[in-house]
């Protein structure tokens, strides 16, 4: 399938295993008369990248009828101005993320992956383009609506956990009750990440892995539709990191949460349903992975 015309800098890719005619099944979703094509892939083997030209190439996207598009980026820019200098952290990025997918955003530092994550989470606002979440355009949101969006829909797991140091694990998770109704019971949330025993410890009394699991429990307690993870294993050793990855994958596979993870570790691509590669503020490729590995198999 061929996507509509691409603007410079946008990334296109072709899934040769897919029939371009599937385009017809594309559902119109956006109110802004933009086509949002949920991708579905029937492919049995991993995708093969055909085109990798940063400027003008065309992409074919598989359509998956079972999956709903949760997020679509269209020509999204993030510009910083410093004195007379302008600099794009993200330029003309377009992508879609389906509900329930495990997405890994890969790229070297400074490539724009954190910017992408911030925009996804409504933690920053775009300088141009559109971001749809479940049909609503985040770029039209004011501060209050963005805050409500974060509170209702997004869970974040940070590289350095970002727990409130003066609150215990239990209290950090229980904090979510203050911002959203219908959160999971903190005990359950912590038990789910295997921390039932350390509930009443302060972050400083816990190991990095425990802190990160608390952080995940905090994010999940909200029952968010979108779970964003910024280098969640970045500060952890391999074994602990693998355990965290396993948890995240579990969330996507069993709880059908949409998990978006940002990392510079390309080995993590193996466990994702979709891998988005970012470079120099632009999206280099989007690859669908038909047979993602189990997190426990990842070695690094």
């Amino acid at each position: 399938m061929f996507r509509k015309k691409n603007t410079p800098g946008e990334i296109e890719f072709i899934d040769i295993e897919n029939d371009p005619t599937l385009d017809k099944k594309t559902k119109k979703k956006s109110k802004a008369k933009k086509s949002m094509e949920p991708a579905k892939t029937e492919a049995k083997k991993p995708v093969k990248i055909v085109a990798e030209k940063p400027a003008k190439t065309e992409s074919v996207e598989p359509i998956n009828e079972d999956k709903q598009v949760l997020i679509e980026f269209k020509d999204v820019c993030k510009k910083y101005v410093q004195g007379d200098n302008e600099f794009y952290a993200l330029k003309d990025a377009s992508l879609t993320i389906n509900e329930g997918e495990m997405v890994v955003i890969l790229g070297p530092s400074g490539a724009g992956k954190s910017t992408l994550l911030n925009l996804l989470g409504g933690m920053d606002s775009a300088s141009g383009g559109h971001i749809w979440f479940d049909g609503e355009d985040l770029t039209t949101f004011n501060d209050n609506k963005l805050t409500a969006y974060r509170a209702q829909n997004v869970g974040v797991v940070f590289q350095f956990y970002n727990l409130i140091p003066t609150l215990t694990a239990y209290e950090n998770v229980a904090l979510m009750k203050d911002i959203k109704d219908g959160t999971t019971d903190p005990k359950e949330a912590l038990a789910a990440v295997g921390l039932a025993e350390h509930m009443h410890q302060f972050p400083s009394q816990m190991s990095g892995g425990e802190q990160q699991r608390t952080s995940i429990a905090r994010a999940l307690a909200k029952n968010p539709r979108l779970l964003l993870c910024d280098e969640p294993t970045g500060a952890l050793d391999t074994d602990t990191g693998r355990e965290v990855l396993r948890l995240l994958q579990l969330m996507s596979r069993e709880k059908k949460r949409t998990v978006v993870m940002v990392t510079h570790n390309s080995l993590f691509a193996d466990i994702a349903d979709t891998v988005i590669r970012v470079k120099n503020g632009g999206i280099k490729s989007i690859v669908h992975n038909e047979t993602p590995k189990d997190a426990s198999e990842v070695q690094w």
């Binding site: 910017t115 933690m123 920053d124 509170a151 974040v156 409130i164 003066t166 203050d178």
Partner: protein, 766 residues
Amino acid sequence: MLARKMWRDLLKNKTQFISIFLMSMLGMMIFVGIDAESAGGAYAANKYYKQYNLCDIWIQGAGFSDDDVRTAEKVTGVKAVEKRLAVTGTAEKYDNAYMYINFMNTNDINRLMLYEGEPFEEDAQGVWLQEWFARTNRISVGDTFTMKIDSIKIDAVVRGIVDAPDYVYYVSEADMMYPNYEKCGLAFMSPEMYPDPSHMIYNQLIVDVRDDMSDDDSIDNIKQHLEAAFDRDDIAVTDRDQNLSFATFDAEVKQHQAMGLMFAAIFLAIALLGIVTTMARVTASQRTIIGTMKALGFSKPRITFHYVSYGFAISAAGSIFGGWLGYMTLPPWILGMFKGSYLLPDLKGRVTKLDVIATIVAIIVSTLVSFISCRKELKDPPAVTLKPPAPKKVKHSAFEKSRLWLKLDFSTQWNIRDVMRNKLRSLMGIMGVMGCSMLLVCGFGCFDSVNGLVDKLYGELMTASNKIVLSSEAGYDYAYDLSSRYKGQMIQEASVEFVSDNVKKSGSATIIDKGNYMHIQDKNLKPVKLNPNGIAMTNKMATLLKLKEGDFVRWHLVGDDEWQYTRITQIYRDPSVQGITMARPVYEGLEYKFRPTSVLTNMSVPDELTDEDEVSSVLNIAHMKESFSETMEIMNSMVYVMVFGAVLLGVVVLYNLGVLSFVEKTREVATLKVLGFRSSKIRSILQKQNIWLTVIGIAVGLYCGWGLLYIICTTVSETLDMFPIINLPTYIYSIGGTFLVSTAVNFMFSGKVKTIDMVDALKGVE
């Protein structure tokens, strides 16, 4: 959960929050305490004045008859009038105590408040004595009390122990400035007790004004009507504001209010600065936590509310607790000291609406200030706040570009930049030091000023060692004999009423005969000679009358209806007596007869002299000087409070400052250590800044301390012209004391330099 976070954050930053708490507490404690004290004092006084019907107007004159009473009563607005004879005498048996003696028929105005015995009645035999005097001299109801008025002796049975609303405060001629109720009593008697009742001449009318006419304007009108009704020049019509007892207490209360406000303002200003710096630091250090909370979906108002509640909680706790503590402690303590100076019943603190409003305002302002100081971290989107702050843009100031800058050594440059980049913190340090040295200078300056006043009074202006006070029996010849016998100098002191452009003031006239014991000083306190042909007026009286040298003033002696219109040829300053001074020939040139009231001498005077009818008392100057200092209890306590406040202020502010800057500098200090600076070198770098700030603070503080002392001295009372005096030792003690506080506190922090672990400090920020 956020409440728990707040509580734990407060605990974590306890030093700073405690210092904010203390400052808010002290501020409100002083404000509410002193306001409650002065409000309570004013309330007790008003209640007392009302209940015992203090007169609104006094009319003094040479003699009043029943017709005069009726004349006065006919004036519109006047409710009742009573006549009295007020004289002074002595009580020989009680160390020649000075007595104010009142003869009166009725007692519906200025009613006596009875402690013991029976109420005052017309035509009664016996005397009613003032309570303090009776108690301290162990006189009880039923005793016989003997007093002497000039040469007349009166024996009377004590019928009652009382207080009087028109004698809340009074001083004898010997004490002059501070009351000593043991040595100075009040006696009230019926005219029946006067040796020759039919020849008794009343010299005072006390006037009660109708309740609906008791505002200031009406009183002024009634006074004018009274003057018109009498049409006599020998009377003086005065109101409560000119009455020593009323005006002194009134001024005391007002002075306390002003002082309380000023002290409270200093402490609260520092509390606010503390809130600004601390909240800015707390929010800056919690930057990523704020970012996290935002990312998690906490709304901006929610987060703002969370951080603002820190400032709110601390200032509310401090202000309310301080207010309560102030109310509980200060009024009983200060009013307790009042009891030695003011004879007022039921003195107790009283909370006013103002206290409640002030507490609320203090809390609101603190909350607002913490809102402003944490707003900065809250305005960016979470993506920005999650990251560490962009380094501050450092602009080179003009000074840093100058050549001089390059010549400075590293530590000076480093410290200048540090001060410039932390202006608020530096300002707080300067203010703390300033407050400390200001209070010290002012406190010690009070001692200097009072001692200076005494020295001036009895060392420079009046240089005799004994003052023989003559009674009205003594004629000129007697005084002349006395002055030749003791190589003395005769002077006459008389009460005078001055008028200029509708301003009317009571004062005194001093007429000096030949001799060497009386001196005057000009406006700048330089000794000058009294112009032998002119009339000199005190600076304070001239200011009150809005007159200057060369102007004319109308005046007359109280008890004489001859008005004078004379030119002021000289302005001089006198701390204790306000009025005019002239040489005897000038006085006689106005066709007055010189009638000495005392003789000054340097020779020792035998005690037996007081047995003579012509001598009222002999005042020993050395003795007076001593007793003077002893009676200054209120002032001493004020000074202790100031010194205590100074040290507390200095320690709390500087400690807080130390914690703030130490935490902020930990990384820098660690870097310096890694670079190879020795701890002692780093310490001296840190000390340098403290010394600068301390020096600036002290310089400003000394100046402000002088200003504060000036305000205190000039507002003491209308009759006292106190000069603010600060001696060199005071400056030395104050500077030394402030430096001691400052360096002691800073030493504690610079000592911590050794404890900084380089590796730990240089690790990533969490």
